[in-house]
């Protein structure tokens, strides 16, 4: 493969994976001026003259991954992660769009901040850097943020990230107000009182380890409240990081009633269970905490049947000094951008999910939710693509990951699936 001489590209004879059209089969993709110009199913496509040609024999080509929950430390905690290091990690992981979370310091709670992050991200020339705005000012859970102005500035959705808007009246007003802009509100479902101080899920394991824990119903209780508000206000709503079987049942009931609610799950909760905490391994200290295996199985089923719309990396960089602590004192969260694809492919290799069902919540699912024109293989869509070897074995080595923080729970894991090449708007931004 040679570097593209111009902005024209042809990827020939790949295994195309396009969840939006339910296509998994041989084909080729032609690209010009940053957009897909033609998708050819079957073999035998011929590249026009003068085009950079990639013969992809045996490799998969899918829309680039869209990760809607990425934390960086910019601004405020640059040693953890910058937009640049996060963008490099994304590119290496086949992720072509990242949505930056607003829990920075200061919070991304006004239109100037939204524009600032987008401008900084674009200047890097790597992946698409988009932004979620805070739902309340400084994420204080009290004062509604400038949702209308941030929406105009390009914010894709609104969330206080890990903080729950405990005051029901505040959330009701935020949802009511957001409806005027058809803005999407994302909330973590965790009853703030039941969850206070908890670092594990209540159960035999947490008891044995002596860890402060919250019952799984803390998630359902808060979700029930949020859904009642959705019903009343007509807001567009995303359940952020659903993690329990109980809450999935609540979600399914709401869907059956016709409520327009979407749900995301973190890759960690699809790949790990509470047993992974093992001997107080702090890289598995997550928020929400890891759950029993039965919850993990229920989440995988929910991905399979479409109840869950989006899989995120829940990328949350934390430097070693924040992780090398007693379990309950360690910072929660894990990095995941660079390992997202390989980890998700384990759902195919080990848990028996169809490949398209794995790719859908990583591509067309989030694109549809956020109204992006990416996430599909079709003429006119941005040429955000990932070329990968679906079966190649890899051993994750956290030290070689591009993130500035190395808190990967996949460190040392053997996975299958290797990103070969990542394209954003037809430009190669990563090559293995």
């Amino acid at each position: 493969m040679s570097a593209p001489a111009s902005n024209t590209l042809a990827v020939l004879n790949a295994r195309l994976l396009d969840p939006a059209s339910d296509y998994d089969g041989p084909g080729s993709v032609l690209v010009e001026d940053g957009r897909i110009t033609e998708v050819i199913h079957g073999g035998g496509a011929v590249a026009p003259a003068g085009v950079t040609v990639i013969v992809a024999d045996g490799l998969c080509l899918s829309p680039g991954l869209i990760d809607i929950r990425v934390k960086t430390g910019e601004p405020g905690a640059e040693p953890k992660e910058t937009l640049k290091s996060a963008s490099l990690s994304a590119a290496a992981g086949g992720v072509t769009t990242i949505v930056i979370q607003p829990d920075t310091d200061p919070a991304l709670d006004d239109p100037a901040m939204i524009e600032f992050i987008q401008r900084r991200g674009a200047a890097l020339g790597l992946v698409n850097v988009r932004v979620a705005g805070a739902a309340t000012k400084a994420r204080d859970g009290v004062r509604m943020a400038e949702i209308g102005l941030m929406d105009e500035a390009g914010a894709l959705y609104f969330t206080d990230v890990d903080r729950v808007i405990a005051n029901t009246r505040t959330l009701q007003r935020v949802m009511t107000y957001a409806a005027a802009f058809n803005a999407l509100i994302s909330c973590r479902p965790a009853d703030p009182w039941l969850s206070e101080g908890a670092v594990a899920t209540s159960g035999e394991l947490a008891t044995r380890l002596g860890l402060a824990s919250a019952p799984a119903i803390a998630e359902r209780i808060q979700l029930e409240r949020d859904l009642a508000l959705v019903e009343q206000t007509g807001a567009r709503y995303l359940v952020d990081q659903i993690s329990t079987e109980d809450a999935l049942e609540t979600l399914a009931r709401a869907r059956a009633r016709g409520l327009e609610v979407a749900a995301s799950v973190s890759i960690n909760h699809l790949c790990f269970n509470e047993i992974d905490i093992g001997d107080y391994r702090t890289f598995y200290r997550l928020d929400p905490p890891l759950r029993p295996e039965s919850d993990r199985q229920a989440l995988i089923e929910a991905v399979r049947d479409g109840l869950i719309d989006v899989i995120t990396s829940a990328h949350a960089p934390a430097p070693a000094e924040d992780k090398r602590r007693p379990f309950a004192e360690a910072a929660p969260g894990a990095i995941g951008l660079e390992t997202l694809l390989a980890a998700a492919l384990s759902l195919h290799h080990e848990d028996g999910l169809d490949l398209l069902d794995v790719m859908r919540p990583l591509t067309s699912g989030p694109a549809g939710l956020l109204g992006l024109d990416a996430g599909v293989l079709k003429a006119g869509a941005p040429a955000d693509l990932v070329l990968f070897d679906v079966g190649a074995p890899v051993v994750i080595d956290a030290d070689t990951l591009k993130s500035k923080s190395k808190n990967s729970p996949f460190d040392g894991r053997r996975l299958q699936g290797k990103v070969v090449c990542t394209f954003v708007a037809g430009r190669r931004v990563f090559e293995a």
């Binding site: 509604m144 007003r173 107000y177």
Partner: protein, 331 residues
């Protein structure tokens, strides 16, 4: 009745011709008027407008009567408008601001009413922060009560003066499309105007952020819009409401700049309304929040100054008619 100077006689004649008793004992709500009685009152108010523009502004229609202004909430323009109206009709006026009186010492509203009633006023003009306060007072006193604003319930003389301004600007209110914009949820002006404008055959639209428009406002017979440009399309009148400062800092609206961006009236948004559309505001205005000065001060579109002038005339009509009803009762 003493004759005014000769040149003014032509101005008082229309007043006397049109003066009749108020249809109710009190004026508590826009619904105390109807499609027949409201125009008659407006005709009378029209005569007062001409009279007020003359050089001599003294009448004796209410000579010997006592009007008590009882304002539990701060007010400059409404209380002075009532005071001037009553004085021009020859009444004795007493202004009470219970903020500095015994009410501040814990006296209940009903105790105050009983006390004031014992002083035998003829008309009690009341503003109070609680919805229904004027109606409660009216049940405890023997005089006529005029509601000058009760909580977020009603402000009927404001609606009457708005109607007067519109009638003078457009000739007829029936068939007009009027957009009421802003904080509908907390506005007594909006409630009184919705019922009075609808009564007179205007089409009413409500425009504002969903946090400031009641969820069931469409049941008032109004169309509800959250997108101001959409809502202004085809409107003849844009009636802006004041946004209370305490609602701006994130509780119901994120900020004044966001409010102005989406729901503040500027030239660009006004251009979505019909050509020749008029702009109203009950005052006091928050310039740069709900209305751009460029629009507020443009006398070719703004009726805001007219509204203040019409306020005195409309209140003179209400007071004179209530007084006429008292005269009738006495007779």
């Amino acid at each position: 009745m003493s004759q005014p100077p000769h040149s003014e006689a032509s101005l008082t004649d229309p007043i006397l011709e049109r003066l009749g008793p108020f249809p109710r004992d009190h004026f508590l709500s826009a619904s105390d008027l109807n499609a027949a009685t409201a125009p008659a009152l407006l005709d009378l108010a029209d005569a007062f407008v001409d009279f007020n523009r003359g050089s001599t502004k003294a009448l004796d229609l209410m000579r010997g009567r006592t009007v008590m202004n009882l304002f539990f909430e701060n007010s400059t323009r409404t209380s002075s408008s009532f005071e001037i109206a009553a004085k021009r009709l020859g009444a004795d006026v007493v202004n009470m601001s219970p903020r500095t009186s015994s009410v501040a010492k814990g006296e209940t509203l009903i105790d105050t009413a009983v006390t004031l009633n014992a002083m035998k006023p003829d008309v009690l003009v009341v503003r109070h922060g609680a919805s229904g306060a004027a109606a409660l007072l009216s049940q405890k006193v023997e005089c006529a009560v005029v509601n000058a604003g009760d909580g977020r319930h009603e402000h009927p003389t404001q609606a009457l003066l708005d109607l007067l301004s519109l009638r003078r600007a457009f000739g007829d209110v029936g068939g007009l499309t009027v957009a009421i914009c802003g904080d509908i949820a907390h506005s007594r002006v909006a409630r009184s105007n919705v019922s009075m404008l609808s009564m007179m055959g205007a089409r009413v639209r409500l425009i504002g952020p969903p946090t400031l428009v009641p969820g069931d406002a469409d049941r008032w017979g109004c169309e509800v819009f959250h997108d101001m440009r959409e809502g202004l399309k085809g409107c003849d009148v844009v009636m802006m409401l004041r946004l209370q400062l305490e609602r701006m800092e994130g509780a119901l609206v994120p900020s004044t700049r966001e409010y102005f961006r989406f729901w503040g009236l500027d030239r660009e948004k006004l251009a979505w309304a019909n050509p020749g559309a008029k702009v109203m505001h009950p005052g006091p205005m928050n310039r740069g929040v709900e209305i751009d000065s460029e629009v507020a001060d443009d006398l070719t579109v703004s009726l805001i100054q007219d509204q203040v002038e019409m306020g005195v005339a409309a209140r003179m009509a209400v007071l004179a008619a209530l007084s006429a009803r008292l005269d009738g009762d006495a007779a």
